[in-house]
Symmetry: D2
């Protein structure tokens, strides 16, 4: 039996990764975000692709105190010798409710164009939204940024300038307009929605989209672990607070 | 009770991360590796720091088929709907035996300078190695790169050019020389050893060092998940192979 | 703010769990499987409930070399100091493809009775199966036990004797019969299918069903970790085999 | 290459686990705690071993709101479709600080008898405690049970009655007495300490001890996931509370 891979190979002197020489072509020449691009496409990004994907991943690194970063901190409190466990615990909540909306947005956009690609744009938007009468369309709404999500605005501006505001971005913008009209109020196109659309326009398949967010989040969790190593260790305070404020219903 | 943090803050219009405006200062201006630097220092990297840390993290992204990437693939086989679980499973093996050696190297270097900082270099090296008579000194040896680890060579060259080959790099180089003399053969200073020393010279405390590797590894795992989504899905083949080649000792 | 819970409470002298005194009512009086019952119902099991749930969980503990147990072993190889990481890695693959079928079976049975409860049994079975024309019905088929899954047989016998072979078990048996007729061949009702039905008949909601399997699997993983601590450590051999048999497609 | 295992084997009709027939010898005859015993010893427990190990695991199932169970709940909030991720997140904090003390207790007891087995008991206790002048001896102290840990009392009573209060239990009792004398106050021998000693007396090696706790904890987490599925869902409240009470130090 042979295990096939296009990822990498090394012998005593060389290390090849995706057909590139790690030490001569990659280290020193590309940045960490570029490596995510290479892993997902097996080729070097263009200058614009590098800027766009790094911008997206930078936008996704850090969200302050979330269920995810709090889990990392609580895990670190119990197992400070295993930073890997703390990071893993912080990724495990990236499911359907949170980071999953990025994947869901990319999926509905890509599958809709697959299903309804022969329709004109207005009809396609109507078709798509008719499937979401009883459930939330992914990529919209935000508890804090109620008027506009500044990350979506910034990322779409960059996408425009770098040549990535294409069909999927246009589609979600049309969906956005329709949703606001239907609901008769301003609904926010959030960062997950923007990222789902732009990554689709960059050519990434929906089922790899969340992986970029997971990698970005791993970068951000460095800051939470560091803070738990110092004076701003909130995990113990949080646990104390819960214990002191538990009401036991017998 | 207040939960203190220096990490981030957002209101309806602004998102601050480590005192920087996410949309105006970071997105579009820094790359993903820079975000790791910012998370660990709360300041922007200099040009040289950006290049060095990205180089290090690029070097750590991908190691082909390892226990770690195989765990990611086997986990993805069972739970393809949860990419977060697959990535988490791939990080959980980054313990004492594998990625931990980077942390151990940084620790022994930093603690040794703390303990023996008043000794001259030769004495310090002797003192340090005397503690490792019965156990392996971390950061040395490699099953494939038996003469030289090309990543160490490349990273030390960059560190030299960018101004980060300082005390800790010098110390591990001296330890390397002594070890080879003691063992009377060429022992390889591996990538973990080089990274542990250079990150120490960049000013990072030993207990945050492994976090850079975990973030880099999360980037690399994108490639393994992608491959499991396509024709080079090794997980099922591997499982089949194990089942067909199991010898049951009753 | 108060955090409500019915789970537990302790003061300097007492520990209450689900309204029972841990030291006087539970320790020494109930077994580990009973604790799973108590956690899921907040009451002590009857003698028959205790026997049935323990039988189910015993059936689920161990499945030999699976993607899940291999992930545990590979994780342990890298991080032997963190048994918790090894166990966690072994649980993370319990997703839609593997242990998830137990949850899916319970879900389709419970939701079907909810939707079609007013139909007679034959009509209900037809309705249910008509939704699965293009996809596999969960709980059927097995790569090794092609004629009969001995665990299903045993568990249904016990369910019969203990009074838990009720509506859901009858429904899946009718579905089984129909499926075999449609496919014109013997299709195996596997352990996941049997467990999904019997747990439904015991009154457990579908979305807690997989938790019993996860707890049982945690028990089984003890054996794999133990074997990795001894002479039958397969993880290193497996990794070596993969490395020696990798074909790199550049 | 052959992968050796003593764990299990199945063909079309039979499933053997540790040399026992799963369906005829185990299902219906042993309980879930017994399976942990079998996994760790490859033999059926005696009646007394069954009672003792089940008692220990029952004692370890549930600890109310801990960093571990809160992580499970926060993870479930984000990824309710992946109960396996929630359980895994709840296990990952079982490191050096929390459940690790059980392992550390067993380790120090077993290694001390290995090192100092030729000394008389008083000398051994002195030797052991002399290594802990500057650090906490594992297995002692409790934030709530300041006079006596009722679980330790109960478990030692059972151990006495069932014939498992042997050398290691005696040794930790002597260490307890010495510690109280040295500190001139009552120090509590906590459940981790008691469990570490009794499992040692039952013949389990220190490095498998934590696995029993992990399995027990997986059982207990069922209750936390269930509560998150209902009205006592604290995760969202907790997150809201943290957000409203965060003080940002710019």
């Amino acid at each position: 039996m042979k295990f096939n891979t296009s990822i990498g190979f090394s012998d005593s002197e060389n290390i090849l990764i995706y057909g590139k020489d790690l030490c001569n072509d990659l280290i020193g020449n590309v940045n960490l975000g570029d490596m995510a691009f290479i892993a997902a496409t097996h080729r070097l990004p263009t200058e614009n692709e590098s800027r766009m994907l790094n911008a997206i991943m930078v936008a996704l690194c850090e969200h302050g105190f979330t269920p995810s970063s709090i889990s990392t901190r609580l895990t670190y409190l119990g197992a400070p010798e295993s930073t890997q466990a703390a990071v893993a615990a912080g990724l495990l909540g990236a499911g359907n409710v949170y980071l999953g909306s990025m994947e869901s947005t990319a999926r509905v956009l890509q599958e809709s164009v697959g299903f309804y690609g022969n329709l004109d744009n207005d009809e396609m938007v109507n078709k798509i939204l008719s499937n979401y009468k009883d459930k939330r369309f992914p990529g919209f709404g935000h508890p804090i940024h109620k008027q506009v999500d500044p990350r979506s605005k910034k990322l779409f501006e960059m996408a425009e300038n770098l040549g990535f505001k294409k069909g999927y971005s246009k589609l979600i913008t049309d969906i956005h307009k329709s949703l606001c009209e239907i609901k008769q109020k301003e609904i926010v196109l959030n960062a997950s929605g923007a990222v789902g659309a732009i990554l689709s326009d960059m050519g990434f398949k929906w089922n790899i989209v969340k992986c970029f967010a997971l990698a970005a989040r791993s970068v951000g969790l460095i800051g939470h672990i560091l803070e738990e190593q110092g004076k701003d260790r909130i995990s113990q305070d949080l646990w104390d607070y819960v214990q002191e404020n538990t009401k036991y219903n017998m």
